[in-house]
Symmetry: C2
Subunit: 358 residues, 2 copies
């Protein structure tokens, strides 16, 4: 698997680094190229203390992003058109939030310079031009969006990323202070997104020694965070932030697998949030992920998480079939999970059975 991967250009890690955001963004204003747009998770709307910490200058814009639904191609197109029409081309975009907000930031950076609807660019290397400057500040850990070359969007026809070198953020600011106040459930589901990335990355066919170093280290740190440390231990936020970063880098030379394929079906058809959808799927995958599922269940139990169960009882056959159709199309995930002869071990019936267990 040859890949020449683009890295994040600049990385600031550490407690208090969010306070340096003004200084970090300075060089990107100095060309006098225009205003910055700050996309901020709606979670912070109304939090005036937090708002004062965002280094807004006179012409900058602040847009709160709803994360009830995952980012859609329609949202990106609408936002892009609104800003271009009313204020012209910005100098850059800054995302402050979880994976959805970072993906909005990455996608819109590209869509400011690539014409037409973002639906045209869902897939690998379809983007024609580099985007504008994009900075990401995660306020929750686990998505890997801070280092990934994809911005996942749900379109009218598919959930698929704008995936290319230019999707990678120009700057990231990783401040573990920001994740200390994340509500427990979200903290858990998003942390499990990374745990599951790593399990999938480390159990498939495409990995190499580079991805193993990152993936196994990230898994080790995840276990420490979710099975050993107390949530309030400051080390916990620090380790989870680095684990997410490393888990994302592990995927550079690997892929996600069965759980993410099933989870995409749940999100596409039932709008289940990604982190939760992963957990609903992962607990039914002992036939694929073995002891990792037991370890996952211990994490669920330790943190008193009540995962929804018996969901399938409420799903019609049509609903399940629809999810199966979404999942089976994700061939790169099946190829990684089961090897190039994956069609010998996987058919619609097997996928359907996984959904029926949920």
């Amino acid at each position: 698997m040859f890949r020449n991967f683009k890295g994040v250009e600049k990385t600031a890690y550490g407690r208090g680094s969010f306070n340096k955001l003004d200084e970090i963004l300075g060089p990107h204003r100095s060309s006098g190229a225009g205003y910055l747009i700050f996309f901020v998770d709606e979670y912070f709307e109304g939090n005036e203390e937090f708002k004062t910490r965002i280094p807004l200058e006179e012409n900058d814009k602040l847009e709160y992003i709803s994360v009830t639904e995952e980012p859609t191609t329609e949202l990106i197109d609408t936002l892009r058109d609104k800003y271009l029409t009313n204020y012209g081309m910005p100098a850059g975009v800054v995302g402050i939030g979880g994976g959805s907000v970072l993906d909005v930031t990455k996608a819109i950076s590209l869509m400011f310079t690539n014409e037409g609807s973002s639906t045209l660019y869902q897939g690998l290397n379809l983007i024609k031009k580099p985007g504008i400057f994009a900075c990401g500040v995660p306020t929750i850990s686990g998505t890997g969006a801070e280092v990934s070359m994809t911005a996942v969007l749900t379109g009218p026809e598919k959930k698929l990323g704008l995936k290319c070198d230019w999707t990678v953020l120009n700057q990231i600011v990783l401040d573990p202070d920001l994740t200390a106040t994340v509500p427990d459930n979200q903290w858990f589901y998003t942390g499990m997104d990374n745990y599951i990335h790593c399990v999938e990355s480390m159990t498939g066919h495409l990995k190499n020694t580079f991805s193993e170093a990152f993936g196994f280290k990230s898994l080790e740190m995840s276990k420490e965070v979710f099975l050993e440390l107390e949530r309030k231990d400051p080390k916990s936020d620090e380790m989870l932030m680095v684990a997410s970063y490393m888990g994302g880098l592990s995927l550079t030379y690997s892929e996600v697998g069965v759980c993410h394929a099933l989870s995409y079906g749940l999100s596409m058809v039932l709008h289940t949030h990604h982190g939760l959808a992963n957990c609903i799927a992962f607990k039914e995958l002992e036939d694929v992920y073995g002891d990792y599922v037991g370890e996952f269940n211990r994490m669920v139990a330790k943190h008193g998480i009540e995962l929804p169960s018996n969901l399938a009882a409420g799903w019609s056959d049509e609903t399940i079939d629809e999810m199966v159709e979404v999942a089976i199309k994700l061939e790169h995930m099946w190829n990684h999970a089961f090897g190039e002869n994956w069609k010998e071990v996987l058919d619609r019936e097997r996928i359907k059975n996984w959904y029926k267990r949920m």
Copy 2:
């Protein structure tokens, strides 16, 4: 410790990735901006099979670099002037070799655009302008030069790096096939450079959770390579290459320490090669690095390495004093190793005693 660090722009890792060098360099030629210079370790001089694998085009230049002595400011200035006078500004430089060759490549990339002697720029952030495109292909693992923001040069007055964001390579190609044939001694000394980086990085005052994740993972991989695997196991070359990469990144939020300070004295005064100088110093540092020195000795024994001893018997007091003066000036290393009150535990006498044990 706040740091907004520049990452390598593009990374290709994997067996056979050296065969993709032509494709990787392509976009940097297409602007028609000029020729490329390939700086290649003299170890490969006369190896015609290897030479045919270097993607030289008509106007490109190939320069073998002697690594008997570490790179000097004089070498950089002379090479830069030679190429500018005879061929004009190149489009980029490609280094194929160990840490010295990578440092030559990084330094000369900067010196093509920054006027005057490289001695003017030895230190932190003294460089005024970004350099030309620079690609590094390590043929030995352990220096960390592939990811570091420094290009260490020995000048008439000091051994000190050109250290700034622009020193970081634009592209690296990490192909474990290239390191399989490194002579055993060099393989060991250079691998120990990384082991010692990590021990120093992980035992001092400046580290944080980010550097710990990289540093401890790199240490774990180093132990596996030097205490468990056989050298001819293909996994060994792969792991050492990733360990070096991670060890280099660990130093982003940390520093080297006592061993490197002493080692710089040895190299500056006696021209001892860096990897060997580190080993000579490290084995005498049990009072600082405790059990790590025992572990290091087991690695030395396992690989049948004969480290020089009783060297100090042949050194005059003046020679030792000269080395002490070089070492004591490296305040950032002492500060990391012993904390900000390092002067309370360190004086010239203590440094002198370490040298006398060698």
